[in-house]
Symmetry: C2
């Protein structure tokens, strides 16, 4: 048995998320279909670093699977890519340790979120940015970002739908935002992320950028541990799973 | 009767081209559907500066239509955009002269073509760039571009499917290419363009960039007036109707 680790990217626009579902086009579904063809009908289960929701993109998602099929690593890459649709691609194939697990061995994940801060619509950005027409105070947002860095209980910033069990404490190594022209880039690097956490944080940061909230509110929001204190989750299409780091 | 001129953009990915066709999703079809709703069921015919093929994008296409409906110009913009799908947008609405015609009054058109010059696939570029993996000599391509500028008979560089009647002489005010990172941008500004002309020229320029042809071949190619001398038309998804200029 060989354990294969792959770095993949996908345009989330036409996927009903990562996880396999009946009668839906999903990333897992397309990958397992390609692997089943390579394995002459045998079902090969893949394991991602984590799921992504409908419309969320990935520049550097990681998956693993096990196989008895013998192929040089470069041939694996070509064999899988030949069978994948245009919106899903394998960038790197490596042989992993027997003990490796794409989900449990993650030490750091990086997400980016992109806002197109213009009043005029850009048809080419609709699936790749969140268009936000209002003026934003970058200084205020940056001050709020700094308060989110470090180890905190992120209950206030996670979906109420998330499971109750498990710690909500996560360590954020980087929370930042910067503007280039009309594009605002948010970068999040952390030990792990709760369900919808990035999209809820970006929503709160946009409130702060508009002056609806004070940057210093972050400290109290973290302390109160109550999702209802915050507004809307921003849309999926601005979110990218950028990179996953392992030991 | 008021004549309305609109500047529009569209992401060509999910349109079967511009021109209306039964049971196909087209730019004209979606625009006329929106106008019919505004005009309470009355059919309003729109006229573009020219058609675009399936998969071709527009940053600045121009259309006109006639109406007896009275609306302030800003309300026109909002009224139409409210009824349009996400991949089609009206940027500007103006009142035009009675004599104006979006097709016959064009004095200059500008097209851009984008090549992604990388071996590795980028899933986010598949509908917006032509991915071309081979090394290109920019100097050679730029010399060939210079030879295409000015007034020429472009028979060699137009689709054999184009109608036989009509002059094939066009005036190119600018033909240029430049590289920024892995992106190669081709810019064409001219008095008008023959069917498939930009895509055939880019194909020839890529041959020259690979050393399959000499930049100086352009002169003989123009002189020979024979489409069969050239290779493939490059794919639609790299092509953008960038701007249309009127008197």
């Amino acid at each position: 048995m060989t354990k294969i680790k792959c770095t993949i990217s996908y345009d989330g626009t036409n996927f009903s998320g990562f996880q396999i579902q009946p009668r839906q086009r999903t990333v897992q579904g397309e990958l397992e279909k390609a692997l089943r063809r390579i394995h002459k009908g045998e079902h090969i289960r893949i394991h991602p670093s984590g799921r992504t929701d409908t419309g969320v993109h990935a520049k550097g998602q990681t998956i693993h699977f096990e196989t008895t099929y013998q192929l040089p690593l470069n041939n694996w890459k070509m064999a899988i890519n030949t069978l994948l649709p245009g919106d899903l691609y394998v960038h790197e194939v490596e042989e992993a340790d027997d003990a490796f697990h794409a989900r449990y061995d993650v030490v750091e994940k990086e997400y980016h979120y992109y806002v197109w801060n213009e009043r005029e619509k850009d048809v080419f950005k609709q699936h790749y940015y969140y268009q936000f027409p209002y003026q934003l105070n970058m200084d205020a947002m940056q001050r709020a970002c700094a308060l989110l860095e470090g180890e905190h209980d992120f209950t206030t910033f996670s979906s109420a739908k998330a499971s109750i069990k498990g710690s909500k404490i996560r360590n954020m190594y980087e929370v930042s935002c910067s503007r280039e022209g009309s594009t605002i880039e948010f970068v999040f690097r952390g030990s792990g992320f709760l369900y919808n956490m990035v999209r809820i944080i970006v929503g709160a940061l946009l409130d702060i950028g508009q002056g609806k909230r004070n940057p210093d509110d972050i400290e109290e929001l973290l302390m109160r541990k109550d999702r209802r204190l915050l507004g809307d989750t921003v849309p999926a299409q601005g979110l990218y799973l950028w990179n996953v780091t392992y030991k």
